[in-house]
């Protein structure tokens, strides 16, 4: 059985089978597409259903379908192709969700980006009715990860999806939209410019045959591809029952990291994300933190963000205790400071002298008071600490 025959058999099946019908897809994965197609053709008498499938299958001219697709700028990528994204193979034995699972028969692809480049990529998904905050964060994250050489996969929908693609395009990095409808269609219509840019600089991908409409069940099947194509999934804004959460469920079933960007507790669009975080997802706030989760051990390690250092932070506990006992303006005697600090006079004297050396206390004729350097203003930032 040649690769070309296999590809044609897959095209034929693709024309008659809904995306994500895992029983059939599993059979194809196990026995090959040609075998399964021939079997279906032979089963013509068993039931009305089978008869219909067989009848439709007989009507398909896969070579003509491919030819038409090529003219529309689509290519057909199947398992075994050099371009085939191997991440999809993990779908073979994943427990179905909404009755959908399985390795797709192939992918219709439009655009210059090779899908095997998605070995280092991340899915950024979320609500279609996002807030400006959510779109802002999605764009930031997408832009940051492409800067580090990673790809961004999403669904080209309104809200977070388009923000993710936009951020990646702004960073001139690889980005792929996975559609629920045929890869030749523009859905939603308003995103015409986005689709044009994706077709020029990234890729538009679909499991559904060219021309097929975006139907609800196809979105559920599509989400499994977004999760499987990438190393991990980031959910930016999602209401409690958002479709974006099915993508994260798929990522979870594929044992890929699930990440969420937190929002305000009062924001309904943060509820879904917060649920996901409570169930063990990782909290991320930036592209760098996303990559820390996805990269190999020791790669993309971020430094913990912390408040600025204040001069007092650098003092020893004893010095700090003594400093706090020194009055701000009216000088006090050594004994008085020692009493207030509840420390021995000798210790206090030593501490005061060391503090005086740093300008934090001043010795006057009438005793000790705090100096100019004792303020708790943050130290000026050093350039080395990016």
């Amino acid at each position: 059985m040649s690769a070309a025959q296999d590809a044609l058999a897959r095209v034929a099946l693709n024309q008659v089978v809904e995306p994500g019908r895992f029983r059939l897809l599993d059979r194809v994965s196990a026995r090959g597409a040609v075998d399964v197609r021939d079997e279906l053709l032979a089963m013509s008498g068993e039931s009305a259903d089978h008869q219909l499938v067989a009848q439709r299958l007989r009507a398909v001219d896969p070579a003509a379908v491919l030819e038409r697709a090529h003219r529309m700028g689509l290519r057909w990528v199947v398992p075994g192709d050099p371009e085939w994204p191997s991440g999809l193979d993990d779908l073979e034995h994943v427990e179905p969700l909404h009755d959908r699972s399985g390795v797709p028969l192939g992918l219709w692809v439009k655009g210059p980006l090779r899908l095997d480049a998605l070995a280092r990529s991340v899915a950024v998904v979320g609500s279609r009715s996002s807030t400006a905050y959510g779109t802002h964060v999605a764009r930031e994250i997408a832009c940051e990860v492409v800067d580090k050489g990673w790809g961004v996969v999403s669904g080209a929908a309104f809200g977070i999806d388009q923000a993710a693609h936009r951020g990646a395009l702004a960073g001139e990095g690889p980005t792929v939209a996975v559609l629920a409808c045929g890869a030749d269609r523009i859905y939603p219509k308003d995103h015409e410019t986005l689709f044009r840019l994706l077709a020029q600089q990234g890729a538009i991908v679909s499991e559904a045959a060219p021309g097929w409409a975006p139907m609800r069940v196809r979105f559920l099947a599509r989400n499994r591809l977004i999760a499987a194509l990438t190393r991990g999934t980031v959910v930016v804004e999602a209401a409690a029952r958002s479709g974006a959460l099915t993508t994260s469920t798929w990522a979870d079933r594929l044992s890929r990291p699930v990440m969420g960007v937190p929002g305000a507790v009062t924001n309904p669009l943060a509820q879904g994300v917060h649920q996901l975080l409570r169930r063990g997802g990782s909290l991320v706030t930036s592209g760098a933190e996303v990559l820390e989760h996805l990269g190999a051990a020791g790669e993309h390690v971020t430094t913990e963000q912390r408040g600025p250092d204040r001069p007092r932070d650098l003092l020893s506990p004893v010095d700090r205790q003594v400093l706090e006992a020194v009055p701000l303006s009216r000088p006090a005697s050594l004994e008085s400071v020692a009493r207030l600090a509840a420390l021995e006079t000798g210790v206090v004297k030593g501490a005061l002298e060391s503090l005086a050396g740093q300008g934090m206390v001043v010795h006057t004729a009438r005793g000790w008071r705090q100096g100019a350097a004792s303020s708790d203003r943050p130290l000026p930032f050093l350039d080395s600490r990016g």
């Binding site: 009715s129 996002s130 807030t131 400006a132 936009r166 951020g167 702004a170 963000q305 708790d376």
Partner: protein, 528 residues
């Protein structure tokens, strides 16, 4: 002739009173009396007029008792523009035959000792007042003839000297006279925004989608707006472009605004009617008098009035003196400034859109994101600064927006729709004309100006939206004052979207605009 009457105008703020100048020249103890509550500067008119008349080659009745009454007498009068009317009245009273042209003519102008006619501030509002009282002919200093002619239906005569005026009134040939100097420049504050706004366009700005949308809404409904964000995030650049999205002023507004500028002495001889909405950006160290009006001597309109019909931008708003902030509260609500001083009360219109900008802290470098935070302020200083931000001023601001510095994905966004000011102006104009036709015959033009009770009673939201807004109120998320403001904003959004009654969608956006919460992405996309 022993008595003659001429007419001129006295101004109290923008309110003009017609003044009869009555001169009586008769026998008796020789004296020159000016009565009718003139102030010190006006009392000097006696000397100016006498010398001006003599130096124009006309007789001054020096051997007579001259009484000049400025009627009505109870009104306090101030200014030098009475000179011309006084001099002409005295000359007419002592002349053998009456001056034919006196009836129905209003005279405005200051005299020099040589008989020259000098420019005075406030010619436009004076001529407006004269027109309102049925006068159709006005004599003004030559450089201000253009300004006076802005008033429709007035016959304007511009002259250079007293001699020319007398010749005209007597029906003789008008002699030549040397040109007179225009009024000395009296600009109270620099107008740095005025020149720059001509060249700046919204299309130059990157990012800030959320704030751009807020600007469009604010402009459409005349709402006050507050922009907060760290320094360098583009608050000023955005504010400077707001007057560019406002439509041209209406005829009435043009006259009002030009009259205000005339009062402020800010109108140059060549200036035309002001057609574009003004932009004024006084510095935060400005005094109460500079911002709201007042000053020593004549009461002048402040920057708030000079931005009437346009935009007053207060950058670094928390740095304004506390008494200035206090004083701003009332005009922001009522749209006018009233200055009472002694027995003088002046009212100036002040319906400017006020745009406040504030940094997150005094140094302007504070950021919630630790790696961007460069703030060096003390915690106490930050708290003090923020206390000024909240409080009563914020309650009078309809829209609150946070602006963040431009990020890379925004700067290089290949899908950004950078609309020009003209595109936005088109939508704003359409929304404003919807409001104008809805409020036809009422005393207001924009949603922001509708009094709360009328708004709630006459222009309701859909039932579902009303219920939702009530829920927000009872849940304590909106104050009573806030409810009215949200209601107004919802109407402006409906006007922008060409919707007949604001519904849940408009209300949701209005609530977010008011509270400072981020908008829904769909709202921004829908806006274009």
């Amino acid at each position: 002739m022993t008595v003659a009457i001429t007419h001129t105008v006295s101004l109290q703020g923008t309110l003009g009173h017609l003044i009869d100048v009555q001169a009586d020249v008769s026998s008796g103890q020789v004296a020159l009396n000016l009565v009718g509550r003139p102030d010190a500067s006006l009392n000097e008119a006696k000397e100016r007029c006498r010398m001006a008349v003599l130096n124009s080659g006309v007789d001054w009745p020096s051997a007579k008792r001259i009484t000049i009454l400025l009627s009505p007498s109870d009104l306090k009068k101030r200014g030098t523009h009475f000179d011309l009317a006084i001099a002409v009245a005295v000359v007419a009273a002592s002349a053998d035959k009456p001056l034919a042209g006196l009836a129905g003519t209003v005279m405005i102008g200051e005299l020099t000792l040589t008989g020259g006619l000098r420019s005075v501030p406030g010619v436009l509002p004076m001529v407006l007042a004269a027109q309102a009282r049925g006068h159709r002919r006005v004599i003004v200093p030559e450089p201000q003839a253009r300004e006076a002619a802005m008033v429709p239906g007035m016959e304007v005569l511009g002259f250079r000297s007293l001699g020319q005026v007398l010749a005209e009134l007597a029906g003789e040939e008008v002699p030549d006279a040397p040109p007179v100097a225009p009024m000395s420049a009296q600009r109270l504050l620099s107008w740095r925004g005025q020149d720059r706004q001509e060249e700046s366009d919204l299309a130059d700005l990157k990012g800030m989608q959320d704030a751009r949308f807020a600007v469009e809404v604010a402009a459409a409904g005349g709402h006050h707006l507050m922009l907060s964000g760290p320094k360098g995030s583009g608050k000023t650049s955005l504010a400077e472009r707001i007057s560019g999205v406002l439509p041209d002023l209406g005829t009435e507004e043009m006259l009002e605004l030009t009259a205000l500028h005339s009062l402020a002495g800010a109108l140059e001889p060549g200036d035309d009617l002001i057609r574009r909405p003004p932009f004024s950006a006084p510095h935060h160290s400005s005094s109460k008098a500079a911002l709201l009006g007042g000053g020593s001597g004549r009461v002048r309109p402040g920057e708030l009035s000079r931005a009437h019909g346009g935009v007053l931008f207060l950058d670094e708003f928390p740095l304004l003196a506390s008494d200035v902030i206090e004083a701003l509260r009332q005009p922001l609500e009522s749209g006018e400034v009233t200055i009472a001083r002694g027995d003088e009360t002046a009212t100036f219109p002040a319906r400017a859109m006020v745009v406040l900008a504030a940094n997150p802290c005094p140094c302007g470098d504070f950021s919630l994101r630790q790696h961007l935070n460069r703030c060096t302020c003390r915690e106490a200083a930050r708290r003090d600064y923020r206390r000024k931000l909240t409080g009563p001023m914020l309650d009078r601001v309809d829209i609150l927006r946070h602006v963040e510095p431009l990020t890379k994905p925004e700067a290089r966004d290949p899908l950004a729709k950078r609309e020009s000011s003209a595109d936005v102006r088109q939508r704003v104009t359409a929304a404003r004309s919807r409001q104008a036709s809805r409020f036809e015959g009422r005393g207001w033009r924009l949603n922001a100006q509708v009094p709360g009770p009328q708004l709630v009673a006459e222009w309701r939201l859909t039932d579902a939206a009303t219920r939702r807004l009530e829920d927000e109120l009872y849940a304590g998320r909106v104050t009573f004052r806030g409810v009215v403001r949200v209601h107004r904003l919802a109407w402006t959004l409906a006007d922008l979207r060409n919707v007949d009654q604001p519904g849940l969608d408009e209300l949701e956006t209005a609530l977010r605009l008011r509270s400072g919460e981020p908008l829904l992405a769909a709202t921004l996309e829908r806006a274009g």
